[in-house]
């Protein structure tokens, strides 16, 4: 693809709030889903004739089944607390990328059709009809939200723009205007089992090759089992882990951890994908269907534990929704939480001294950690609030000597999205992705300059792919992004534990 025609933002010396530039990103529009990709998910193939009435009707249905949506659309007082919190606003200055303004795209139609004030005095209360222009704004700006929930941390009423953009996308898809990237991928998961459309023989071949590579390098036969019945652990991981750097090094790390801990584990063809893009398009039905594969795989293979690999939104769906969508999981070993994050497994093994680690193996690297949005603000690890921040850092400190955090307001619950989450990790949105990465790049550059940091470690396939893509735009190298379990894998001393 030709290099897109836009300027990469200059990284300011200190974080800056841009001035409002109306329409700055009005041209950003992801490819629409083709009829076959729409229909595979149960949506109409193209924009339906009566899209207006069907969109309003769909909005009514969603309002009736989502307390959050209803409360969020009613409660906003336009205080402005969220206006400088979205990385896409900070990177573009487009006012429709301020969370409240993004919500207002849906809220103004809600007010017009579902509230007395909006029916009687539309102009006064900022209500508006759903015109073609508004529909187009929905499509463009609900696809400039990575559903990272940063705004929801700061809203005095906890209004979550992610819920609004999900509802918006759901309505769009249900009138025939779905997004190509997400819908095509969900179709592949339904049909083949993973986002990449990797069939079983190719997957088996890849895993066999990985085993050979690791054995060649270390002399230890570390296995990468697939569809092994009776294994203790089913590992569900993003399919990116099967083929690309830096993801695959993370998979090697998990395999080494399981090997050293003597845990019999397996991957599954049926659930060869942790990602669940049903979340991104706000489709409860699709999300549930994708989640059910994990249940089926666990039953089919007779495993006792369910562990998820490094993937942000997948961990949200797994941790927060899986039991609701596909439970109960009473057939699994009740001594372990369902599901577990691979970082929880590794953390626990380290704590119990079950792994021999050589930190100096990572001495060439000076590492910082990027909290992925869905892990940070929509899930937990361990048994105390905030474990999602401490556990990965504990693991990193256990496997490398040089660890440095980025500025406090850019990590933890205030972490900035990588810029590619929420179904936006596609080349047709590369300008948005580059600009949306600005706040994270700013914080990264600070630790590069202050602590000579060389690498960002992450636990999300989307973050890793996004950073590999955008780091070069800001003068860094694409290989400065690492999997946390790559660092773990490199530090593990294979062989007998004494």
């Amino acid at each position: 693809m030709a290099k897109a025609a836009f300027d990469t933002p200059r990284i300011p010396d200190f974080p800056e709030i841009p001035v409002v530039v109306e329409g700055a990103m009005g041209h950003s529009r992801p490819f629409a889903a083709a009829p076959e990709h729409q229909e595979a998910l149960g949506f109409p193939g193209r924009l339906v004739e009566d899209w207006h009435d069907r969109a309003i009707a769909r909005m009514g249905e969603l309002l009736g089944r989502s307390r959050g949506l209803r409360v969020f659309l009613d409660s906003c007082v336009k205080c402005g607390a969220c206006t400088d919190k979205c990385h896409y606003f900070l990177g573009t200055g487009d006012p429709k990328n301020m969370p409240v303004a993004r919500q207002d795209l849906l809220r103004k139609v809600y007010r017009r059709h579902f509230t007395l004030a909006g029916k009687l005095f539309p102009k006064l209360v900022g209500a508006a009809d759903l015109t073609e222009e508004v529909l187009e704004d929905w499509y463009r700006y609900f696809h400039q939200c990575s559903q990272c929930r940063r705004c929801s941390v700061f809203c005095p009423y906890g209004i979550d723009t992610a819920e609004v953009s999900m509802a918006g996308r759901e309505i769009l898809a249900s009138v025939g205007l779905g997004q190509k990237y997400s819908n095509e991928i969900i179709g592949k998961v339904h049909k083949i089992g993973n986002n990449l459309g990797l069939p079983q023989p190719a997957l088996a071949d890849t895993l066999e090759g990985l085993g050979e590579d690791v054995e060649e390098e270390t002399g230890v036969p570390v296995r990468f089992p697939l569809d092994e019945e009776g294994a203790e652990v089913l590992l569900v991981t993003p399919s990116a882990d099967f083929f690309a750097e830096p993801h695959v090094d993370g998979l090697i790390g998990y395999a080494k951890v399981f090997h050293q801990a003597g845990i019999r584990w397996t991957l599954s063809t049926r659930a060869s994908e942790a990602a669940n893009f049903g979340l991104f398009i706000g489709s409860y039905e699709n999300m549930r269907k994708v989640a059910l594969r994990v249940r089926e795989a666990a039953l089919e293979l007779g495993v006792k534990r369910l562990v998820f690999g490094e993937c942000g939104h997948a961990w949200r769906v797994a941790y927060s929704f899986l039991d609701t969508l596909a439970g109960p999981f009473d057939f699994l070993d009740p001594r372990y939480p369902v599901p577990q994050h691979v970082v929880e497994v590794t953390h626990d093994l380290i704590r119990r001294g079950a792994l021999t680690l050589d930190r100096s193996a990572n001495d060439e690297r000076r590492v910082t950690f990027h909290d992925s949005c869905n892990v940070a603000r929509a899930s937990r690890m361990g048994d105390v609030p905030g474990g999602q921040f401490t556990l990965p850092r504990d693991v990193l400190r256990a496997v490398c000597n040089h660890f440095f955090d980025m500025a406090p307001d850019t990590i933890g619950e205030g972490t900035f999205c990588c810029g590619g989450g929420g179904g936006l990790l596609t080349d047709d949105l590369v300008e948005l992705r580059v600009k949306g990465a600005l706040p994270r790049m700013q914080a990264f550059r600070e630790v590069v300059e202050r602590h000579r940091v060389t690498h960002i470690a992450a636990i999300c396939a989307i973050c890793k792919s996004q950073f590999a893509k955008v780091l070069p735009y800001y003068g860094f190298e694409m290989d400065q992004i690492l999997s946390v379990h790559q660092l773990v894998g490199d530090a593990i001393v294979l062989g007998r534990n004494d």
């Binding site: 989502s66 607390a81 209360v125 005095p156 609701t324």
Partner: protein, 238 residues
């Protein structure tokens, strides 16, 4: 009975009915709408008691707003806290003998009235001065501030500049409560003050003032972080 008294009495009854019925309707609607999934903004409390404390901090301290924007927090918190003091102070018109807390705040209530106006002025200034907030402000956002400033302003004016007959006012208010109407003092500033309060009560359930009940129903704030410990299933209608 003077027509003015009848008009105001009926207006107060109507506004009260709209306020109570409207809020009851919205609260019932929020309560009945299912929250299909667990979506607390994490880190979140793990228990119901922890959630109650989180909501209490939001209501009393505006915790999230404090994290977000210190000036907005200062103006917003000042306005709401002062409004609370003023409202408590006003209960002396509704109770005989006067409810103790109402008597207690009597000395500071007029100054709370001033603080309330100052807070509102700060919030209003942001709607003009900060380009981002200017962009998101609808006419109704300005109008709501105008309404509150006018209510506060007329109240403070009666306290400091144009005193009204508070004994007659209290007789009117108690008359409303006990359905034994007494004449309303026909003083322009008071009538303006009361008229605007009637308007505020009536628009409450149809406006962004729904943020008050909304906060208690916001799933990002009122859900416990326990999806692995407790299976979350609600009757659903998808």
């Amino acid at each position: 009975m003077p027509i003015l008294t009848v008009a105001f009495a009926l207006a107060f009854y109507a506004a009260t009915a709209i306020l109570v019925a409207g809020l009851a309707y919205k609260i019932a609607q929020y309560a009945r709408t299912p929250a299909l999934l667990k979506i607390p903004t994490t880190p979140a409390p793990l228990t119901r008691a922890g959630v109650a404390a989180r909501i209490a901090r939001e209501v009393v301290l505006f915790e999230s707003l404090f994290k977000a924007a210190k000036w907005t927090w200062l103006f917003g918190w000042t306005f709401h806290a002062a409004l609370l003091v003023v409202l408590v102070g006003h209960l002396r018109y509704f109770t005989e003998p006067v409810w103790a807390p109402a008597g207690l705040v009597q000395g500071i209530a007029p100054y709370a009235g001033l603080a309330m106006i100052a807070g509102l002025a700060g919030l209003w200034a942001r709607r003009f001065l900060v380009d981002r907030v200017r962009y998101i402000s609808a006419p109704s956002d300005h109008l709501m501030l105008a309404l509150l400033v006018a209510i506060g302003g007329s109240g403070v004016a009666m306290r400091f500049a144009a005193p009204t007959d508070v004994v007659a006012l209290k007789a009117f208010v108690l008359g409303l409560l006990y359905f034994d109407w007494q004449p309303i003092p026909s003083d322009a500033v008071l009538l303006l003050h009361l008229g605007l309060v009637v308007a505020l009560m009536a628009v409450f359930p149809f406006s962004k003032l729904l943020h008050a009940p909304g906060l208690f129903f916001s799933p990002t704030r009122n859900q416990a972080d326990d999806p692995r410990e407790r299976r979350h299933v609600v009757a659903r209608t998808p």
